[in-house]
C-alpha cells in the first residue's frame, strides 16, 4: 500500500505550515518521514538547507498524535529526561520556566499518572519544545484539549514562531488552519491536492459563495435558481453557486420570497474547499468517473 505518493513541499523558515486532510490521507506518515521515523522508498528530505533528517533530529521537536508518557515518573524528571535525550545537557532551568509558563509549576513533583488529560498534554508539549528546537512538528496539537489549554498551547506555538521556530502542524480543525497557518497543505489519498497560503487557495475557487441571513432560515434559500449546494450553519446559510450563475439573480429570487437581513458574496471557506475535495459528493463523483 502506498501511504504517500509523489509529495513535494517547501516549508519557509519561521512559518507555520498546516497539514490538513481526511484520516488516513498520509499526514502522519509525512511527518514521521520528516522526523526520520519512517524512511521514504523514493525521493529525499532536506532540512535546514542541506541537512538530512538523520543528522537533524536534535533540532526537531516532535509531538506525535498518539501521546504517551512514562506514568510512574514525576513531571520534572520526565521533562528533564526528554530534554537531556535530545540535547545531551541538563535542562532543569528550561523545564522550570516552561512549567511556570503553562501553569504546571505546582505539579512538578507529582507523578504523571496523577495529572488530568489536559495537563498531560501540556507536559507532552513541553517535552516537545525542550530544548528549544528549530523545527517543531506537531501532529494534532489541539486534539482533546479544553479551550483554556488549547489557548495556552496556541499562544506558546505563536511565541515560538516569533522567535524564529518553524512549525509544521496537522489539524482537523479548519478554523485553526485558517487562523494560525501561513501555509496550508492538503493531502488526500497520499497526494498533495492543495498547497499555498489561504488566500491563494481560495483564489483558485473564485467568489462563488454567498452568505445569507434571511427570515425563514434554510426554508427561505431552498430551491433558489443558480445554487448548487447549501450549507446550513444555523443562523447563516452558505450557498455555493453553479458555474456561471449570476449572484444578482439569486438575490432577486431570494428577496421575492423572504425578508433578507444580510447578503455577502465571498470566497469559499477552507472547510468548504476541504469538503469539495474530500466530502461525500466528491467521493461519489470520483466513483462515477472511475
Amino acid at each position: 500500500m502506498t501511504a504517500v505518493d509523489d509529495l513535494s513541499l517547501t516549508v519557509p523558515q519561521g512559518s507555520i505550515y498546516g497539514f490538513i486532510g481526511p484520516n488516513g490521507s498520509g499526514k502522519t506518515t509525512t511527518m514521521r518521514m520528516i522526523v526520520n521515523i519512517f524512511y521514504p522508498d523514493r525521493g529525499e528530505i532536506r532540512l535546514f538547507g542541506d541537512g538530512r533528517p538523520e543528522t537533524s533530529t536534535d533540532l526537531i521537536g516532535y509531538l506525535p498524535e498518539e501521546r504517551g508518557l512514562y506514568q510512574k515518573m514525576t513531571v520534572e524528571a520526565l521533562l528533564e529526561f526528554y530534554g537531556e535525550l535530545r540535547s545531551g545537557r541538563s535542562v532543569k532551568a528550561e523545564v522550570a520556566s516552561w512549567l511556570e509558563r503553562l501553569g504546571l509549576a505546582s505539579r512538578a513533583s507529582d507523578k504523571v499518572e496523577t495529572l488530568s488529560k489536559g495537563m498531560s498534554q501540556k507536559v507532552q508539549f513541553i517535552a516537545t519544545v525542550i530544548p528549544e528546537p528549530k523545527l517543531l512538528i506537531l501532529d494534532e496539537p489541539f486534539s482533546g484539549l479544553d479551550p483554556v489549554s488549547a489557548e495556552a498551547i496556541r499562544s506558546a506555538i505563536l511565541e515560538l514562531r516569533r522567535h524564529g521556530v518553524t512549525v509544521i502542524l496537522s489539524t482537523h480543525d479548519m478554523h485553526v488552519a485558517e487562523s494560525m497557518c501561513d501555509y496550508i497543505l492538503m493531502i488526500f489519498r497520499g497526494r498533495k491536492v492543495l498547497d499555498g497560503t489561504l488566500s491563494s487557495i481560495q483564489d483558485q475557487y473564485g467568489d462563488d459563495t454567498i452568505r445569507v441571513t434571511a427570515e425563514g432560515g434554510l426554508a427561505a434559500v431552498e430551491h433558489l435558481p443558480g445554487v448548487e449546494q447549501i450549507r446550513d450553519l444555523g443562523q447563516v446559510q452558505e450557498l455555493r453557486l453553479t458555474r456561471g450563475a449570476d449572484p444578482q439573480e439569486v438575490l432577486r429570487a431570494l428577496v421575492a420570497q423572504a425578508r433578507v437581513t444580510s447578503f455577502s458574496l465571498t470566497k469559499p471557506s477552507l472547510h468548504d474547499i476541504f469538503m469539495r475535495i474530500a466530502g461525500p459528493a466528491a467521493e461519489e463523483a470520483n466513483h462515477a468517473n472511475a
Partner: protein
C-alpha cells in the same frame, strides 16, 4: 550512533527498574524460589515419615527371609533413635514372614490376599523370593523380566522366579531401595552356604566395600613437598558448580525478562513514538539493553557480596574456584545482552502485555534448557552432549560455566571457543533484533509470524 542518547535511555530504564519494589522483591524471592527446593528437601529430610514399614515376605527358598528379618532388626537397632536425643528419627522395618502356599492352586489366592492387605494398608508391600533366586543367574536369564520399563507392563507370577516386590506405593520407594542390599547379601550368603562354606564363622563375607573419593596427590611447587590426597568434598564436586550456574541463570532471567514487558509497555502506552522522535531505533534498543545490563550487574554484585559473606561465615571460602569469577561476568554480560536484544525484538512485535506474556517462555528458553540439563552435565561434564551443548551459543554461558566450575574443569580451548561463539552470536542477535525492532516497534495489531520477522531481520 550518539552515545549520550544511549546512556540517557539506559540511565532512565535502569533507575526505573531498580527503584521499584518488584526489583527488590525479586532480588530476595528469586533465590528463595531457586534455592527453596533444596532448603525444603534438607528440612524435610530431617522430618521423615516415621510410620512402620510393614512388609510381608513369602520366601520359597526358606533361607533368605531369615537374613532379611535379621537385617531389619539390626537396622532398627542402629538407626531408629537419635543417639543423643533418643527421639525416633527413622521408620521401623517390620517384616512378617509368610509360609508359601502349600499347593500351586493356592498360590494365586495367596498373592491376591496379600495384595488386598496392601490395598487396605495393613501392609506397605510384600516380597516374594523365588527358588531360582539362589541359582546364580546369567544375563540371558533376566532378559525377559529385568527391571520394568516403567510402563506398567504385566508379568506372569511364578513362585520359582527370582525376587518380586509387590506394592501400590508411588514415587521413590525407600523400602524397596533399602531391601536391595539385604536381599542381595542374604542371597549371596545362601549361595555360599549351598557351596558348603561356613558362613557363620566367616562373618562379613557379604559386606560391601565403600569407595572413598580422594583428590589427586600434588607437589608443592615452592617447597617440593608432596601433599597427600584429600577427601573430596561433595560441596566442591556438586554444590559449587550447581550454585554458580543457577546464580548466573537467575541473574540473567531477572535482568532480561523485564525487557520484554518494558518494550511492550512503551509500545502499548504510545511512549515509543515520542522516543523515536529523539533517538533512532538502534539507539533506543541499545539504551534499553544497556539499562538491563546495569540491572543485572547490580543484582550480581549484590549476590556476589552476599555469597562472599556467606561462604566466609560458613568457613568454606577456600572451596570457591575464584578463577571462574571473570568468566562469570563475561558470560553474564554476553548472555544478558543477547537475551535483552532478543527480548526487545520480541517486545516490539507485541501489541499488548498479553502478547508479551505468551512469548515470555520463548525468551527464557536459552536459560531453561541448560537448567534442564544440569544433572546430565554434572554426571558427565565432558561427555559428548554436554560438550556440544556448551558450545551452542545460547546455552554456552550457563553450561560452560557449570563445566568450568567442576573440579576437573574443561579442556583449555573450550571456554575460548565458546566465548568467541557467544560474542559472535550476541553481535548477530543485536544486529538482527535491531532490524526487527525498527520495523515492528510502530506496528499495531496482530504480532507478525516468524517468517515475517525473519524477513525483517534479513532485509531490514
Amino acid at each position: 550512533m550518539r552515545t549520550h542518547k544511549i546512556l540517557t535511555i539506559a540511565k532512565r530504564d535502569y533507575l526505573a527498574t531498580v527503584r521499584t519494589k518488584a526489583f527488590v522483591f525479586g532480588l530476595v524471592v528469586a533465590p528463595v524460589l531457586f534455592g527453596g527446593g533444596s532448603i525444603a528437601m534438607s528440612f524435610l529430610k530431617g522430618k521423615p515419615d516415621l510410620a512402620d514399614r510393614q512388609v510381608a515376605i513369602v520366601d520359597h527358598t526358606g533361607v533368605v527371609a531369615e537374613a532379611l528379618v535379621s537385617a531389619a532388626k539390626e537396622k532398627n537397632e542402629r538407626d531408629l533413635f537419635d543417639k543423643k536425643t533418643h527421639l525416633q528419627i527413622a521408620p521401623r522395618y517390620v517384616f512378617e514372614v509368610i509360609a508359601p502356599a502349600a499347593n500351586p492352586a493356592g498360590y494365586q489366592d495367596q498373592l491376591l490376599a496379600l495384595s488386598d492387605r496392601v490395598r487396605s494398608k495393613q501392609l506397605g508391600a510384600f516380597l516374594e523370593i523365588g527358588k531360582d533366586a539362589l541359582r546364580p543367574s546369567k544375563p540371558s536369564d533376566d532378559a525377559d523380566d529385568s527391571e520394568d520399563s516403567g510402563l506398567g507392563t504385566s508379568k506372569k507370577a511364578n513362585p520359582d522366579k527370582g525376587v518380586s516386590y509387590y506394592t501400590n506405593a508411588g514415587g521413590i520407594d525407600e523400602t524397596r531401595m533399602w531391601l536391595n542390599g539385604p536381599i542381595s547379601d542374604g542371597v549371596r550368603l545362601a549361595r555360599l552356604a549351598q557351596l558348603g562354606i561356613d558362613i557363620k564363622s566367616n562373618q562379613g563375607l557379604a559386606a560391601g566395600v565403600p569407595i572413598q573419593g580422594l583428590s589427586l596427590v600434588e607437589r608443592d611447587e615452592k617447597t617440593g613437598e608432596v601433599h597427600e590426597a584429600r577427601k573430596r568434598s561433595e560441596l566442591v564436586g556438586f554444590f559449587v558448580p550447581f550454585a554458580v550456574a543457577m546464580i548466573l541463570a537467575m541473574i540473567v532471567m531477572v535482568g532480561s525478562a523485564p525487557m520484554l514487558q518494558s518494550v511492550t509497555q512503551d509500545k502499548s502506552q504510545r511512549i515509543v513514538e515520542t522516543l523515536l522522535g529523539a533517538a533512532t531505533p538502534f539507539e533506543l534498543m541499545t539504551g534499553k539493553v544497556m539499562g538491563s545490563v546495569g540491572v543485572s550487574v547490580t543484582s550480581s554484585l549484590l549476590y556476589v557480596i552476599a555469597g562472599t559473606i556467606a561462604v566466609n561465615a560458613l568457613g568454606v571460602a577456600g572451596l570457591l574456584p575464584l578463577t571462574i569469577i571473570p568468566w562469570f561476568y563475561v558470560y553474564l554480560l554476553t548472555d544478558v545482552i543477547m537475551l535483552c536484544a532478543f527480548a526487545a525484538a520480541l517486545g516490539a512485535c507485541c501489541s499488548t502485555p498479553q502478547d508479551a506474556q505468551n512469548l515470555a517462555i520463548v525468551l527464557l528458553m536459552p536459560c531453561l534448557i541448560p537448567m534442564f540439563m544440569l544433572v546430565t552435565v554434572l554426571r558427565q561434564p565432558n561427555g559428548m552432549l554436554p560438550t556440544v551443548m556448551s558450545l551452542v551459543p545460547p546455552f554456552t554461558p550457563i553450561l560452560m560455566l557449570l563445566r568450568q566450575a567442576m573440579p576437573n574443569g574443561v579442556p583449555a580451548w573450550q571456554p575460548w571457543v565458546g566465548l568467541v561463539d557467544v560474542l559472535a552470536f550476541a553481535a548477530f542477535t543485536v544486529w538482527a533484533a535491531s532490524r526487527i525492532f525498527r520495523v515492528a516497534i510502530l506496528m499495531q495489531g496482530k504480532p507478525p509470524k516468524l517468517a515475517e520477522a525473519l524477513r525483517w531481520a534479513m532485509k531490514g
